[in-house]
Subunit: 317 residues, 2 copies
Amino acid sequence: MDEFGLIDKYFKSSSLQRNDVIIGIGDDAACLAIPSGMQLLVSTDTLVAEVHFLNSWSPYDIAKRAVMVNVSDIAAMGGLPAWVSLALTMPDFDEVWLQQFSKGLDDALREFNIALIGGDTTRGPLSITLTIHGFVPAGKAVLRSGAKVYDKIYVSGELGAAGLAVSFLKRDDIDSLDRKVVEKKLINPKPRTDLIEIIQNYATSAIDISDGLSADLNHICDLSNVGASLIANNIPIHPLVKKHFDTLALDFVLSSGDDYELCFTVSPKNESAFLASLAKNKMTCYLIGTIENTKGLRAIDANGEVKEIKPHGYSHF
Amino acid sequence: MDEFGLIDKYFKSSSLQRNDVIIGIGDDAACLAIPSGMQLLVSTDTLVAEVHFLNSWSPYDIAKRAVMVNVSDIAAMGGLPAWVSLALTMPDFDEVWLQQFSKGLDDALREFNIALIGGDTTRGPLSITLTIHGFVPAGKAVLRSGAKVYDKIYVSGELGAAGLAVSFLKRDDIDSLDRKVVEKKLINPKPRTDLIEIIQNYATSAIDISDGLSADLNHICDLSNVGASLIANNIPIHPLVKKHFDTLALDFVLSSGDDYELCFTVSPKNESAFLASLAKNKMTCYLIGTIENTKGLRAIDANGEVKEIKPHGYSHF
């Protein structure tokens, strides 16, 4: 089967349809209609075998994860995902692999009402690049650069489980239930699309935590030209991280990536409306600190002691 | 240097600015404004080392070629390119390579007034995926599916030089000037953006010739539910293909890819206006045949003999 047969069989036929896709897969380019009043969001993530996923993972999970991490980027801008294009590089034509991969892709895309609009299939070492497109009302994109002094810093959920799973990969002395629980967090991250409206309405800045809380919060601080003080005890740490890292759990969580929770800032004047909106939607976010004028990151512990945090996270090189 | 320093140094600072880029490189996603009345075109091409380019090519040329083949896809839709995102996978951090690559990327993007809006850098086997975005007035995209019976088939330039360069790669008995001439065509293809307005105004269907004339024209025929008769002697063949392939030159050209000329169809009722527009712009296109009701591809030689053409081009698997 050649590239065109392959695309037809595994990607084109099953693809979710959307009215704003004038032409999808199968022409020189896709042709798309942007709803009036909306701006376009575009983000690209590459997943390389043995760097961002293990070859031992099921193709179904690999495809799903590729979608999830891309959706997370759109959610972090306060936008709604709409379309993806897929660049799939494979060492050879493995029909079983492709069948499972396309099923995972399709299931993940349907979960977020995203259409596959095109891409490229090439021969080479296994790698998956998704470019995701979403919409945000004009002028409403939530940027990393919008944090202001006195803004409160929130995170959307417990941190550290995905990083814990990575740390377990090279160990064979780990309780198998513990391993299973955190592996699920690593392999199947849940982008926080449930928070999109709240982020759009209340966040002054936002980022998804892919590289680690300290590194990602530092991006907000750098681009907003501010600093941050964290309340150490308020940082929500996954219970298994506490179990395995004990007193080092906080240090671990500060530099532990792949959780895909959101970190965002809320102006004090909107905080009560924000909290009311969370409560109304039965959602929980965690207040972890305050934006300050003094550059850099600090954590204050229960004794009032202040410790500098050196931003540190996953580095690609 | 980590990913962020690398992006700043080689990609962010030099990037061409456009007013429609609200937020470019450096946030979770780029935020972009689509001009009113326009639809969005999106196309993705991956170039894998030793599959789509040779490691021996200069990084400058590799980057330029990646842009050119992507621009060609937008031109084939009758659209104007606007933005690209770059997914760059590299085996290691090679500053000299990156410096040259980013210069080639920047020069190519400036040539077409395209902004680099984001992307991803990852570690792994060398591969470049560009996702290009362009605009076309709403409803004006030129599709592969628009060819009608009696439409005239045109190509925008001489074919076969890039394919000839590929065929030379494994030979050491080739005249060095010949090799140089065709290698330039392979390494530095020129997307036909000069034809965008004419394609938009006059073409009923269009495709860029990346896989070979027979394979690409066959895509038009398949999607338009028609066939095609070619006038063998009218197909413009690069002189060096004639020199090296003699009587087999036509067969070679029919399945020879990478030229990135456009193949398109024009309705007979618009043909004189189309030709007048070409003449006014001092441009040449070549009439190579006619769309017919009978499926499949045929070529008619100078003696009136008809030969079936089996669509055959570059296959990725």
